[in-house]
């Protein structure tokens, strides 16, 4: 029996995009257990509800995360809208869906790049991020921001997107599909990639369920659960079926995300084809009084937004449960029994977003 040693991993580590710390208990090269600790970038955004009124909070909510920022703003607005009983116009619902799916596209593309970088395939990383630039350009064209859009508002959207621009999007999405076809082939078929992903870090369906995982991490283990099935915004009117894989290993997570990329393109195309004309914002009157819990499917999984108003311009409480927070127990389970060399890739397979976890 060899000696047990503890290796600190992170918070600053070349493979980690964000600071999370893990104490890895190793026996030889195998991991016996992992003890995570977070709290390096806590910013106290939830507490800010006491200082900013409920409309300014939209901007704060958007800044919870730099990648899924639109979803955070939207989840917050949805919760406040439900408290205030505001009916969002249909066009705004469709546009929100489009922006949310575009966010998913660029987030998953970002993840693919990071994953390629983690297993040492630098040229693949570069090519993947080149595609992401194209999506960011589209988003900048429509909203004015590349990652923080500041377009969502309580009651709808701040700006309309003209139909010609949507048509242009549809055209560009067609080209994007071509780009993705070339890139994703490398992820799905390349032997070097497969050797790093296949059979590594298996999470069974029972474990995934028991540990309360969410997002592509959960669906890669065979659970058909996606909060887009709760039909918020325009999802009820779109043809949507969650992507599920049954293998539960790193490769399955990669496959699920790649399929979701195509699905997102499909959803955006459907939404552009169906989008009705009309207003994009309902004027909001009064102050929020009451509470609501909104669920939004972010690129990384389900996020929850709890809002409690007391009839003043400042909310009483705002709470966010982010997907990475739910996935950390799953990650700890996945790490057990794995090689030390795979830790970097395995942490990335949950697509960690530590900034949003700590808010």
């Amino acid at each position: 029996m060899s000696k047990i040693s503890v290796v600190p991993y992170g918070p600053q580590h070349p493979v980690l995009p964000e600071p999370v710390h893990l104490d890895l208990v190793l026996q030889d090269e195998k991991i016996v257990s992992a003890i995570p600790s977070i709290g390096f970038i806590h910013r106290g955004l939830e507490k800010l509800v006491e200082k900013r009124d409920y409309k300014e909070m939209v901007f704060v909510a958007e800044r919870i995360c730099g990648i899924c920022s639109f979803g955070h703003g939207m989840g917050y607005c949805e919760a406040v809208e439900n408290v205030m009983k505001v009916e969002v116009p249909d066009r705004a619902k469709y546009l929100r869906t489009i922006f949310q799916e575009m966010s998913r596209l660029h987030s998953h593309t970002l993840w693919l790049g990071l994953a390629a970088d983690a297993f040492g395939y630098e040229s693949l990383f570069m090519q993947t991020w080149r595609i992401r630039e194209k999506i960011l350009d589209m988003l900048e064209m429509a909203t004015g921001g590349r990652v923080i859009f500041s377009i969502v508002d309580v009651g709808g959207l701040r700006k309309d997107v003209p139909d010609e621009m949507l048509a242009e999007f549809a055209k560009r999405l067609k080209d994007l599909r071509e780009d993705y076809n070339r890139i994703t082939a490398a992820f799905l078929e390349d032997d070097a990639v497969k050797s790093r992903l296949c059979g590594v870090g298996v999470l069974t369906i029972e474990q995934a369920n028991d540990l309360g995982c969410c997002g592509p991490f959960l669906r890669a283990s065979g659970v058909r659960r996606d909060s887009r099935m709760t039909d918020y915004e325009a999802y009820a009117k779109l043809d949507f079926e969650p992507v599920v894989s049954h293998d539960g290993d790193s490769y399955a997570r990669c496959v699920v995300r790649i399929k979701e990329i195509y699905q997102s393109i499909d959803l955006i195309e459907q939404a552009i084809a169906q989008i009705p004309a009309g207003d994009v914002c309902t004027p909001v009157k009064g102050m929020p009084d009451g509470e609501y819990l909104a669920r939004v499917e972010q690129p990384r999984g389900e996020a929850l937004y709890y809002v409690k108003g007391n009839g003043t311009k400042n909310l009483e409480r705002f709470r966010v449960r982010t997907p990475t927070f739910a996935n950390i127990p799953g990650l700890v389970e996945v790490l057990k029994g794995q090689d030390f060399a795979d830790v970097g890739t395995l942490i990335l397979t949950i697509d960690p977003c530590i900034s949003c976890t700590e808010r």
Binding site: R52, E56, F59, V60, R63, S123, L124, Q127, R130, E133, E140, M141, A142, T143, G144, G145, I148, S150, R158, K159, R182, I183, A185, A186, E189, D190, D191
Partner: protein
């Protein structure tokens, strides 16, 4: 076995132009919606302070006594919320990014000298008017007190009824 999956991409790159641009020689065109930085047309601004109240990052300061409007472009998060709330529509979001600086300096804009003079005049006038109005009100109150003193019986009568009731 699948080897050379990436070859397609390599060949594609050989025959396509680079994804990057030769920066100093070619500059990027920003879209018209790009949120770059805030500018204020001081000729139209009335220093109402609406933008200062709305700004979520407290980047704007409005000083009505000094006739200045200032912004710290490094605190501004480019949310456009001030632009939407400006009653005079003098704020605008430009599509070029904030000019780089060696320190987080504040940009201060001031009314032109003539406008400050005009505003001072207006202020003086308003003060004079307010004084006059105050004086008139005081005189009126005095007159009312006088009439009330001349009819004490009626006042006492009503007081009596309320006491009984």
């Amino acid at each position: 076995m699948s080897i050379g999956v990436f070859t397609k991409e390599v060949i594609y790159n050989l025959f396509h132009k680079p994804a990057t641009e030769k920066y100093p020689f070619v500059t990027r065109e920003y879209g018209e919606r790009t949120r770059g930085h805030i500018e204020n047309d001081m000729n139209a601004c009335v220093l109402c302070g609406m933008c200062m109240m709305r700004c979520p990052s407290h980047a704007i300061k409005v000083d009505r006594n000094a006739y200045t409007w200032s912004i710290n472009p490094f605190s501004c998060v480019q949310c456009s919320y001030c632009v939407e709330g400006c009653p005079k529509k003098c704020l605008s979001m430009k599509n070029t990014y904030t000019t780089p600086d060696t320190a987080k300096n504040t940009v201060t804009l001031k009314y032109s000298d003539e406008r400050i003079r005009a505003e001072e005049e207006k202020k003086k006038e308003m003060i004079a008017k307010a004084m006059a109005a105050k004086k008139a009100a005081a005189e009126k109150a005095a007159a009312a007190a006088k009439t009330a003193a001349e009819t004490p019986k009626a006042a006492a009568g009503t007081a009596g009824t309320t006491e009984k009731g």
